[in-house]
């Protein structure tokens, strides 16, 4: 078990220190791309910063900016974001029992869940488990708040300086973030998720050219179901052979 001497402040700064480095660099870089994308989509700095602080997961943020730029109808936007955000549920369900010092629900746990990002989730469900239970919440807050600050900083700096960027840097940042999101999703250990990702990458864009709203929803459900069904068949295959 990692030594934090049981003090809240020490655990908080341990979390802060652990997030500085690759996690914070990754978030600043990814959100720098989002800042340029949000600016191109017509969001002012306040809206861009507020969207980061409130939505706070890259897939949902990127979907927000992309759908805003493409002028998707509100009903399709709602269904897409509701489905995309469902990733937050298993993340919160598995992380909150690790973070909280005592069993049972408390209202402040909703605020803890609001700070969850995939990076913070990995950290608290791996490194967090090595800490004393009373140190986990301050550790998590130190880690997650630093990431949020890094994300806001990346968004601010790229949104503010987008027009003054070198002509090659803007497009590079606009490629960086979608690539980051796709490759992050491609690290999923589940074959069903990988198949759905590939099928969605092939099926959704052309269907959205035909009809933006139905292409997004019908294409997403169809591609996701294809990935799910194909991997299910594969899972059952070896069992039949036994």
């Amino acid at each position: 078990m990692r030594e934090t001497s049981g003090t809240v402040r020490r655990a908080f700064f341990l979390g802060l220190r652990d997030s500085l480095g690759l996690p914070a660099i990754g978030i600043v870089a990814a959100l720098s791309g989002y800042g340029v994308m949000a600016r191109d989509a017509g969001l002012d700095l306040t809206m861009a910063m507020l969207s980061v602080a409130t939505i706070w997961t890259m897939p949902s943020l990127m979907a927000y900016a992309e759908l805003l730029a493409s002028g998707t109808a509100a009903w399709a936007f709602f269904i897409a974001l509701l489905v995309i955000s469902i990733r937050n549920l298993p993340m919160a369900v598995s992380a909150i029992p690790v973070i909280r010092a005592r069993p049972g629900f408390r209202w402040h746990q909703i605020m803890l869940a609001q700070l969850l990002s995939p990076t913070a989730w990995v950290q608290i469900t791996t490194v967090g488990r090595t800490l004393d239970p009373s140190d986990r919440m301050p550790y998590y807050l130190g880690f997650a708040l630093t990431l949020l600050a890094g994300g806001l900083f990346g968004t601010w700096i790229s949104h503010t300086w987008a027009s003054g960027l070198h002509p090659a840097l803007g497009p590079a940042l606009l490629l960086f973030t979608p690539l980051f999101v796709v490759l992050t999703m491609a690290t999923s250990p589940k074959r069903s998720s990988l198949l759905a990702l590939v099928t969605g990458c092939i099926l959704v864009p052309p269907l959205m050219l035909y009809d933006p709203e139905f292409g997004l929803i019908v294409g997403g459900i169809t591609a996701g179901t294809i990935g799910f069904v194909l991997s299910g068949r594969e899972r059952r295959g070896p069992e039949r052979k036994k």
């Binding site: 949902s60 990127m62 974001l81 937050n88 909150i96 864009p205 996701g224």
Partner: protein, 111 residues
């Protein structure tokens, strides 16, 4: 214009969707099983929608990325994917290489 279709309205929808599932997760933590086929299917649909949107953002962009020729974008993505796989699915080598290749192509074409 419908209030919900303004950037503020859409932000409210996006925040509401994200917050709803986070709050539900906090309330239900320890009480529900998330490793079920239904959740697997939901994650699959998420992967498909987000993957499709990201491909659209790269190959059918409404941003200044559209000023970069399609061949350059496709080559950058292909190289990023190759580096990602060659490095054992490490995200940063792939993403950084792809972005640098794209930046280099922009500089090269402007010479």
């Amino acid at each position: 214009m419908n209030l919900l279709e303004t950037p503020w309205g859409l932000l409210a929808i996006a925040f509401g969707c994200a917050f709803f599932w986070r709050a539900a997760g906090a309330v239900l933590s320890g009480r529900i099983e998330v490793d079920t086929p239904l959740f697997d299917w939901c994650i699959c649909v998420t992967q498909a929608i987000v993957g499709g949107l990201m491909v659209r953002a790269i190959f059918w962009p409404s941003s200044q990325l559209a000023t970069v020729p399609l061949t350059d974008r496709a080559a950058s993505v292909a190289i990023a994917l190759a580096v990602f796989l060659a490095c054992g699915k490490r995200i940063f080598p792939g993403v950084v290489t792809g972005s640098l290749i794209l930046a280099a192509s922009v500089v090269w074409r402007s010479l």
